[in-house]
Every structure is written in C-alpha cells, then in structure tokens.
C-alpha cells in the first residue's frame, strides 16, 4: 500500500481535484465531474484508524519525484508534475480528523480579494501589489480543535441607580445601592482553536466565524487540490486558550442580564467548565505570507466566508511621503481656510 494518496479521474486517470463552486470533484483534462457519492463508488473511503509510521521522505505517485514536505505538511503538490499528493500517515490514527468544512472560495476569488485588499493599503510597498506576489496565495486546510462544553458561572457585585431633581436653587442627587447576583448556565459548541504552531493564533482567531451548517465528515478526498497541515498543538494545550475564551463569553453573557441600573461593578465571579469535548477538524483558509525586511506579514482569508485579516508590510518611504502629504494638505486648509475666519 502506497504511503501517498493521489486521487485519479476514473475516466482518464489524470489528477482529480476538489472544485469549490460546484462542491464536487473535477478533472481538468476530460472535464468529468463527480459528486461525493459518485466518487465514493469509484474510490472507497480509506479508514485510517491505526497510526501509520511517518517516513523520512515521500515519493510522488505520478512522476516518482521526491515530495517537498516538512513535518506537519499533510497534503501538498508535487513541484514537478503538479499532481495533488496526500500523505496518508498524517491523516491516520490520532491525526485522523473528524470533520472538515470544504473550501467555498476558489483560488481565483481569493487572489481577487487579496488584490483589492492590498491595493487599498497605501503604505504597502509596491512589490506586494504585483501579479507574481498575488499568485502566491495558497489554499490550506488548517488544523483546528473544535471544543464543546457546559458552563456554570456567576457574577456578583454592587449596582447603583442615580436620580436627580431640582428644587428651588438646589440640585438633589439620590443614589440607591443594590447588591446583585446572577448565576447561569450555558452550552457552548464548536469553539475553534488554532492547532498549528505555524499559523498565528491572533489572525486565526480573527477569521472566525465559520458556518458550521456546511461541516462534513472528514474525507481525504476534500484535501485533493489543496495544501493541508496536521496539528502540532495538543488538545490539552489548546484547551487553556478555549477556557479563557469561554470564561469571558460567560461573564459577558451574565453581565448582559444586569439591567436597569445606571452603573454596576462586578466584585466577584466564577465560571466552571464541564463536559469538555475536543474534536479535530480541518477548516479552509487562503494564506499569503509576505516577507519584507526580515519580517513575515501574514494575510489570511476565511476559505468559506471570505472574511479577510492581515498585516500589511509598511514601507517607511511611503510612510514619510504620506505624512508629508497630510501635513501639506492640513497646512493649506488651515492657512487659507483659517484666514477666512480670523
């Protein structure tokens, strides 16, 4: 059994890849199209429940060249023949994802989004606005832990109502003090936490939310035509991040029920989590990393919803020019406009 999986078109034998707009698999040579059910008939789902040993190197099924892959790369392309190559061991056993949200945005759409975004960044250096740079946008299935849990929590503190009125030449301010307590419970579902050290947690958090109505059981077939990473952040590490998020959500939820006061302050609180479950999932992103003056600048698009986050490289020269232009414009407005009113 080969350690690298490549899905081939049942009609012509060329590489078969997932097509986001039709949510089916398309052969770019014979233009045949297969839905998930049709495709499953030709190529049976492999259940990789056992851990498979990681190898030092992997060979492309189509041309026999060695694949370029680092420790966490799970799906990639052969750099010689461009065939999609899926490294099975990295989807096996403990690395077998439970679910996947398939890509909805095509690479062309992602490039267009990046191009629009970078052209609005007036301080970005010109080289990041060129076509060769835009072409580097890559579709990646990123590993996420999806946490679900029950919560029980309370907040308590002091609240005030303030009432003022006038009588004669005096103003009266009446302050009433109350003690309040709110205890509640809630269930949180599918809180995503970035499970890859390579990807910046802050940006991965910002591309949320994903629409979970479109979540599918995992199949390696969805990986065909995209890059994929396996997790290298264990579920228990990710849990601490999730916990602090849930504590914050629950506190805010409880605070939203403190109404009818002019002001209040919380002086004690507690949120307890139970029934925590973590499910391993692959979520789609488009990624572009711009290297500029030795620093990485990340650009990410949510591969399902198209939401954009990113960090623009800043050209100091453009910053100075921009600053000078603003200075000149403000100065001209102040001098010629101000002279009208002096």
């Amino acid at each position: 059994m080969s350690s690298v999986k490549e899905y081939k078109c049942p009609s012509c034998g060329a590489s078969l890849q997932f097509d986001p707009p039709s949510q089916s698999w398309k052969c770019h040579y014979c233009l045949a199209e297969y839905s998930k059910d049709e495709f499953d008939k030709h190529s049976h789902e492999e259940h990789l429940n056992e851990d498979m040993p990681d190898l030092d190197s992997y060979i492309c099924n189509s041309c026999g060249a060695e694949l370029i892959a680092d420790d966490t790369t799970s799906a990639t392309f052969c750099i010689y023949c461009k065939s999609a190559a899926i490294i099975k061991s990295r989807f096996s056993g403990r690395f077998k994802p439970k679910s996947v949200i398939p890509f909805k945005l095509t690479k062309e759409q992602a490039k267009q989004i990046y191009s629009n975004w970078i052209h609005k960044r007036i301080l970005a250096p010109k080289e990041f606005k060129q076509k060769e740079e835009i072409d580097k946008v890559t579709g990646i299935y990123a590993p996420f832990w999806l946490f679900s849990c029950e919560t029980d929590g309370f907040i308590q503190g002091e609240a005030k109502t303030i009432h003022t009125w006038r009588s004669g030449s005096y103003r009266y301010t009446q302050t009433k003090y109350y003690h309040f307590l709110r205890r509640g419970k809630a269930r949180y579902k599918n809180i995503p936490v970035d499970a890859s050290k390579k990807l910046d947690d802050k940006f991965m958090h910002m591309i949320e939310p994903y629409n979970y109505n479109e979540i599918q059981n995992f199949s390696m077939k969805y990986m065909s035509g995209f890059m994929a990473e396996r997790y290298d952040v264990e579920a228990n590490e990710a849990e601490t991040i999730m916990k602090s998020r849930v504590e914050d959500y629950m506190e805010k939820r409880l605070r939203s029920t403190v109404i009818g006061y002019n002001s209040y302050s919380v002086n004690s609180k507690q949120v307890l989590l139970s029934d925590i479950t973590a499910s391993y999932s692959m979520l789609p992103i488009y990624l572009l990393i711009n290297k500029y003056r030795g620093k990485d600048h990340i650009f990410i698009i949510n591969g399902q919803t198209g939401k954009v986050v990113g960090d623009t490289p800043i050209s100091p020269l453009r910053q100075i020019v921009f600053g000078l232009i603003v200075f000149a414009v403000v100065w001209i407005i102040a001098v010629f406009g101000g002279a009208l009113f002096v």
């Binding site: 309370f154 109350y178 910002m206 949320e208 914050d248 600053g323 102040a334």
Partner: protein, 270 residues
Amino acid sequence: MYKRISIVLLAFIFVFLVAQFGVCAYSSDNVIDNLGYLTESEVLYLQGSIERIKDNYRLDTVIVITDDTQGKSSRDYADDYFDYNGYGVGSDYSGLLLLINMDKREAYISTNGKAIDIFTDKRIDNILDDVAQHLSKRDYYQACCEFINNVKSYANSGVPSNQYRVDTERNYFHRVLTMIKSFPVYIVALVISVIATLVVTFSSKGKITINYQTYEENGSFALTENRDSYIRESTVRTKIESSSSGGGGGRSSTHRSSSGRTHGGGGRKF
C-alpha cells in the same frame, strides 16, 4: 476729495434743516432727535449726563434718532455722523454714538478711539440688550437713559484685562500672511499628519467579528439564580450656581469708515 466731503456735509445740513422744520424737535449738541421723541427737559437732562461723562472719562457720547440715513447702512451712517460732525475727545477722537434708526428699526452703537477698547463686542451686546428692550416698547427716553448709564458704568470699569482688537476688514491676503507666520498652524498640521500616519499604519489588521453569543448553543443559556437586593441610599444636595455672564470675551471688532478712521461697534434690530 474735500469737495466731495463738503457736498456731503452740505447735503447733511440741508436735510437736517428740512427735517427740523417739519417736526417740532429739541436737540442739543450731543442729543440729536430728528423725530421729536424726546421732550426738551429730557434732552437737557441727557446732555447734562453726557457732559459729566466727557469730563470724568474723556469720552464723547452722542445719541442720534432719525428715520432717514440717506441710503446708508446704520453702521456707515453712525460712523460718518460721528466723524463729520467733529465729535470725539483727544487726538484719537474717543467717543461713541448710539444711532436709533427708525427706518430700519435698528439700534447701532459706533465706537471710536479709546471707546473701541472699553466697549468690547460683548459689552456692546449687553448694552444693546438693554437698549433694544426699551426701544421695542417705544420707550425712547428710557432707552437713552439706559444707554447713558451703561456707558458710565463701563467707562468707570475701564478696558477689560483680556481685551484685544480684531480688524474684521483686513484684506484676505494680509490675513493669509499672518496665518503663514502663525506657529500653532504648523503644530496642528504636524500633530494631525502624525496621527493620520499612525492610524493608517496600524489600521489594516482586521477586526474580531464574533461575540460572546456566537458559539452559545441557541436557548441553552438559563439564569439559575437572579437576585437584586436593596442595600442603602444617599441623597446629596448641591447649590446651583447662577451662571453670571459678566465681562468675558475681550474681543473688540473694528472696521474702517469712509473717513478712513477705525471704528468699533455693533447693532441690533428692535
């Protein structure tokens, strides 16, 4: 130039002669009532007060009541009347003139010389408040008395410490030059450009669009305990300070009259 002025003067005198011929009106040197609103004793009383102001504060005070300003605006008429009739004390012709223009139902105060500094825009406004109140009730004598009393009290308190003059008629080019030389403009432009650059530099990251309810399962939230208990109350009483609008704003707006002299002043409809 002199010829034109003398023709204007002759026209003035002629008009006054005709006007005085028509109505029986009493006038003195400083109280010119063309419409006969004031009695002789009232005119004499006002003239007396005006002379005391002139002696004590070296300010010439003039009151003109007319319904014919020869097509001039109240401001120009008041300025010219003061300039061309030899009013004013000292080399800077200090003094002020109250014009009651019945044609346009407008009261206008023109200040000259030292009076420009004493009677700031704010003070002129206050005087006009008082005067217009009586004028709208057709109480002309009371309006004049109110004017004289105000002049006395402001003349007595002198030039406010924060007084400054603003020439409202300096030409645009001249004001642009002052703005170019003004240091705060550079500071404002520098601060705004630095802020704008920082905002553009740090604004591009994207924002968090999820909130505390995004991952909450619908309908799963329930309050199991909800308590609000009254502890105590307190009431504080504070005296409301009556906001006195005294003095503030030391601006005296100035302009130039047809004679070329600088005047201050302000007007009010009644």
